[in-house]
Symmetry: C2
Subunit: 380 residues, 2 copies
């Protein structure tokens, strides 16, 4: 990846439409999207006009300057001596931008876009507002979603690489499954395999759940070792150059029982049907509605949970992220979006749950799976 | 670890002094501190009186209920069906608490403590404020710091375990150093060793920096393979039951040159002197001031950066975190605090830097190192 002034220019065109002064970047994913690399404390301003402004600590300036220079891009770099002065550096930069671009803003305030997600620290936002009474922060989604929901070919390549890394981790995890193994052991080996294959780390913790713990929506590590007959749900999410994989599989240790078979059949049918329906123009809510019908037909209607699909890219969940942002249920699927299928768990509380998740890119002919890992769920 | 009603009761006594309605927990570390376990989306209310209220999604309720029950603790559990409703569940809970404890708050608003750190998502805080116009959020530090800066013996035990895990990772990383190795390879092997030794993951990414990249304050992965004569800075921070390790070492690949030796001598003297000074009653700023004198005597005064020591525990950096919160420079060290020594890098820009960091507990007789890893910096 390299610095992407083409993306900066697209963002600036959209900002002009919105009338924003700029975008304040305080998250890893937008920083990487524009700059092609991550930074420990990602702080940058993409003004509506002119060169991006990078904010970094004094000790980090030479590396940042070298990087921008090596990639042939001109940036303004503002240095702070101390984390406490970070927002002061930002304020100074925005004063200059406001003076140049928007000296008499409507109602006295200029709008600045900012990503409002889990990664944006509340105390820095509070400080930003306090120090910038003439700026109004608004969610940057109208600009950033327009840029990011449809993936460029090089982004899809990186996502496929991440998904291949996840596949190697899943192979290793599956190989570890035997009665008595702990979820911690499986996790450690899956992590080793993925790091050795080129993962930078994982976007969210690895989940390895056994038995009734497979019901968990988010999961974690099961407290008890694996037992014969247990369901196993494993969720792996390595990152490659910031791009997130998402691979979940359910296994059963030994012969599946009737309920496990019924759950697996219902889930597989729901995934197959979602794959059939996932075309440009469909709404996310329609995918869940059809999934619920299928689960109901299998006698599991009460256990169906919305959220079969979500956007993925430089964030583990990005627009459409309907389980986090309810309004995203109304997002219309676009040609070129990267979406997962299989996010939701179908679980009978106290008994167990199943889930198979893969990453696809939407095409007019249907979703193209990035890495076809297959489903071989019985471990003997 | 187990659920800690004793800590809840201490927090409640301090909240009564502050006149707060309660503490809203939205971060992993406070959640673990009170509940003894982590949760994918940590959301809990510690009211000034009565049982803690845990907020979780419907699919996660059975596990949370089992956990609380197994540990003999009574909690109220509020369930939401959808992430979008999380804050609505919180609002409902606070309405009840306000009605019971503080029906006519001064100036119409009750105060609620909340951790204001990197982990607290701005959009949830905004939503909380919008839905709770009668609540005023204030930083929870006056209560949480009073509880957390001095470590209990079982916390120190877990921190020592984490530091042992880091030591195994450092052994493995050092073993990997040879001309041509990439920082990615070193990172992968260090991570494997730490995961196999019981790490849950790392609190911040592993840093493996070579050559001029050792100047980096935060670091990352060096783009070029290791070369003969390079400095190497490795920073490892595995977590065990949430408790953070912090182990940094500098190595040189082959014979150190004169400047490298001078940097290393200056740094070692600064660390030794900080160990000598670190006693209950000293102020954090005094440690840095003395460090600057030493660096100046070695001819590196211009390159000295404040931040030799910071608090550590369930957060990678916690009070006193003077490189993040300037006022923490005025914190007086207390008997029983857990602090690192060796956080700052001493770097000549464009050339290289050195850094050795370990974790200590403060005692009246001086700082007790949790794991004495030693310094053997020449790799041949």
């Amino acid at each position: 990846m390299t610095v992407r002034l083409d993306r900066v220019h697209k963002a600036q065109a959209l900002m002009r439409e919105q009338g924003w002064l700029g975008i304040m970047v305080m998250n890893h994913d937008d920083y990487r999207y524009f700059l092609g690399r991550d930074w420990a404390q990602p702080r940058a301003i993409i003004p509506r006009e002119g060169a991006p402004i990078l904010i970094c600590s004094a000790g980090e300036e030479p590396e940042l300057r070298d990087y921008a220079h090596d990639h042939g891009a001109q940036y303004e770099i503002k240095v702070f001596a101390h984390v406490g002065e970070q927002m002061a550096a930002v304020v100074g930069a925005f004063r200059g931008i406001q003076h140049d671009l928007d000296p008499n803003p409507p109602e006295g305030k200029s709008k600045v876009g900012m990503q409002m997600w889990f990664d944006t620290p509340a105390f820095l936002v509070d400080l930003f507002r306090k120090l910038n009474p003439r700026l109004e922060l608004v969610p940057s989604d109208p600009v950033m979603d327009a840029l990011r929901v449809v993936k460029e070919p090089e982004e899809v390549d990186l996502m496929a690489r991440a998904q291949q890394v996840a596949a190697l981790g899943m192979d290793r995890a599956r190989e570890m499954l035997r009665p008595g193994v702990t979820s911690r052991e499986v996790t450690a080996e899956a992590m080793c395999a993925m790091m050795r294959a080129g993962a930078e780390g994982t976007s969210t913790p690895i989940y390895v759940n056994f038995g009734a713990y497979t019901c968990m929506l988010h999961g974690g590590l099961s407290p008890k070792p694996l037992e014969e007959g247990d369901l196993v749900v494993i969720n792996l999410n390595p990152q490659v150059e910031g791009y997130c994989a998402n691979l979940s599989r359910t296994f059963v240790m030994g012969e599946p029982d009737k309920l496990q078979l019924r759950l697996m059949n219902a889930y597989s049918e729901m995934v197959a049907e979602t794959r059939r329906l996932l075309r440009p123009g469909v709404h996310i809510r329609d995918l869940d509605a059809r999934g619920k019908e299928i689960c109901t037909a299998h006698g599991f209607g009460d256990y169906h949970i919305d959220g079969i699909s979500h956007g993925i890219g430089l964030r583990f969940e990005e627009t459409p992220a309907s389980t986090i942002v309810r309004q995203h249920r109304n997002v219309k699927v676009l040609d070129g979006m990267a979406l997962t299928i299989g996010h939701t768990v179908l679980a009978v509380p106290g008994i167990g749950g199943v889930r198979h998740e893969d990453v696809y890119q939407v095409t007019p002919e249907g979703p193209k799976i990035l890495v076809d890992y297959g489903v071989e769920w019985v471990v003997s």
